[in-house]
């Protein structure tokens, strides 16, 4: 049996769910049908009445898990520290919000909680004992353009080391390994009026690994068009780092967001070299879940009918082969 396990974040099916084409049960069933038996959810996205959980819902949830042979894996938490205009929530109120989500994750049987990247290291330190109490590991999401050894993550790492708790770690989002800028994003900009020439320049320079600063500078020297500048700025929001960077941190990595933009077929994601990424995870002995996170939906739904199910199916097939199940 392969060490790396497969799952799906139901986030992937958001388009169909939003449009009422799929229910939560449909989402779970589809994930299971691809052999992805780990289920990740954003509680706020699909659980009506969040953060409250009725006994009826919890029963249904575990009922679905039994029915489809799936396992609850991860709940994705958000931290709304700007609940009121002009006012930032106190640290203790923020801590309460985290505890609320830990309880939520615990009740749904999730052993991992994705912590949103903006959460401070200080807060993680305060929350660590509660993570232990509710038996839910908290992983700070390493989301592009952050990366696992940048300044913010270094401070998180220091807290992990200081607390020396197995309940603190990283959840790398594979968007950090975006080698080519998603063509569906570039096409979206073109539909909004960006210039072909600028689009080509940005995509080519990004793929060559040119520093965002240079790309933005060059585009600004060519045009003032806001949509063109915004396209150039994409080079700041996307990132590609060498996945080898994960190796010194493997003991702190217990879950992976298998972000993707566009599966061309059952072997290839357009932007992210999953072969490289999975090779590093294997080398590092990763044993957790890789959960599909389909990000294409909102970049294409202005012009196309989204087929999240087919996209996830292809990615799961690719992952299965790469993992070597």
């Amino acid at each position: 049996m392969a060490d790396i396990k497969r799952g799906v974040s139901l986030y992937s099916f958001q388009e169909e769910y939003f449009l009422g084409k799929m229910t939560m049960e449909d989402c779970i069933a589809k994930a299971a049908s691809f052999g992805a038996n780990g289920i990740e959810i954003i509680g706020e996205q699909m659980v009506p009445g969040f953060p409250k959980l009725t006994d009826a819902f919890v029963d249904q949830w575990f009922g679905w898990m039994d029915k489809y042979g799936t396992t609850p894996v991860c709940h994705d938490m958000f931290l709304d520290f700007k609940k009121y205009k002009g006012y930032v929530m106190s640290q203790l109120d923020q801590l309460q919000s985290i505890i609320r989500d830990l309880k939520f994750a615990n009740k749904l049987g999730c052993k991992v909680m994705r912590v949103i990247v903006s959460t401070t290291p200080e807060l993680m330190e305060l929350a660590a004992p509660y993570a232990e109490e509710y038996d839910v590991k908290m992983g700070i999401e390493v989301h592009a353009p952050w990366h696992i050894d940048n300044a913010w993550m270094k401070r998180h790492y220091e807290v992990m080391e200081k607390m020396n708790s197995p309940y603190l770690g990283f959840i790398p989002d594979m968007g950090t390994y975006t080698k080519k800028i998603a063509r569906i994003i570039v096409d979206n900009f073109l539909r909004k009026g960006a210039s072909e020439k600028i689009a080509q320049l940005v995509a080519d320079s990004y793929e060559k690994g040119v520093m965002a600063e240079y790309i933005v500078g060059e585009v600004r020297s060519m045009t003032d068009k806001p949509i063109d500048i915004a396209l150039a700025e994409q080079a700041r929001h996307n990132s590609y780092t060498n996945p080898k960077q994960l190796l010194p941190y493997m003991n702190r990595i217990f879950h992976i967001h298998a972000k993707f933009y566009e599966m061309l077929d059952e072997d290839t994601e357009y932007s992210i070299p999953y072969n490289e990424v999975v090779a590093v995870l294997k080398q590092g002995g990763f044993k957790g879940y890789m959960c599909s996170e389909y990000e294409g939906n909102r970049h294409i739904h202005d012009a196309f009918v989204v087929n999240s199910v087919e996209q996830v199916r292809r990615q799961q097939l690719m992952l299965k082969k790469l993992i070597g199940e």
Binding site: F18, E44, D80, K85, H299
Partner: protein, 127 residues
């Protein structure tokens, strides 16, 4: 993102006790996880190019009716992801039959974003 789904149903006149008190549209929140109501910093509706005064806008969600002012202090109740709410405009007499253009704008204060997300959509209907 999600902009084209903002206006869910076309404008209809609101009849209360036999009187047309205004008009209303069905709407969805253009954001992928729903949001506590106090974080919906603003809702603006423009009809045929004319902005509706904020005090004449009501938001109805699963049976609860809010003025924009009331929304500011309601953090618990949420506009759920995919939920169809109703934006009511107080305008005695409502809309006359014919073509009308509605623009609906949401200003969302999402904590992890450095600036608010402002999303809007405009559509023309035969009423």
């Amino acid at each position: 993102m999600y902009e084209q789904y903002i206006i869910h149903t076309k404008p209809e006149n609101t009849v209360e006790n036999g009187t047309v008190t205004g008009f209303q549209v069905g709407a969805k929140l253009p954001y992928y996880r729903g949001l506590g109501i106090s974080m919906i910093e603003d809702v603006q509706l423009t009809i045929d190019g004319k902005a509706v005064a904020p005090e004449n806008i009501l938001v109805v969600l699963h049976g609860n009716t809010y003025t924009l002012k009331q929304m500011e202090t309601e953090p618990e109740d949420r506009w759920e992801f995919g939920e169809v709410g109703t934006i009511k405009v107080l305008q005695p007499g409502g809309l006359v039959s014919g073509e009308h253009t509605v623009e609906l704008l949401f200003n969302l204060r999402v904590s992890y974003m450095p600036v608010n997300a402002i999303r809007k959509y405009s559509k023309t209907f035969m009423v």
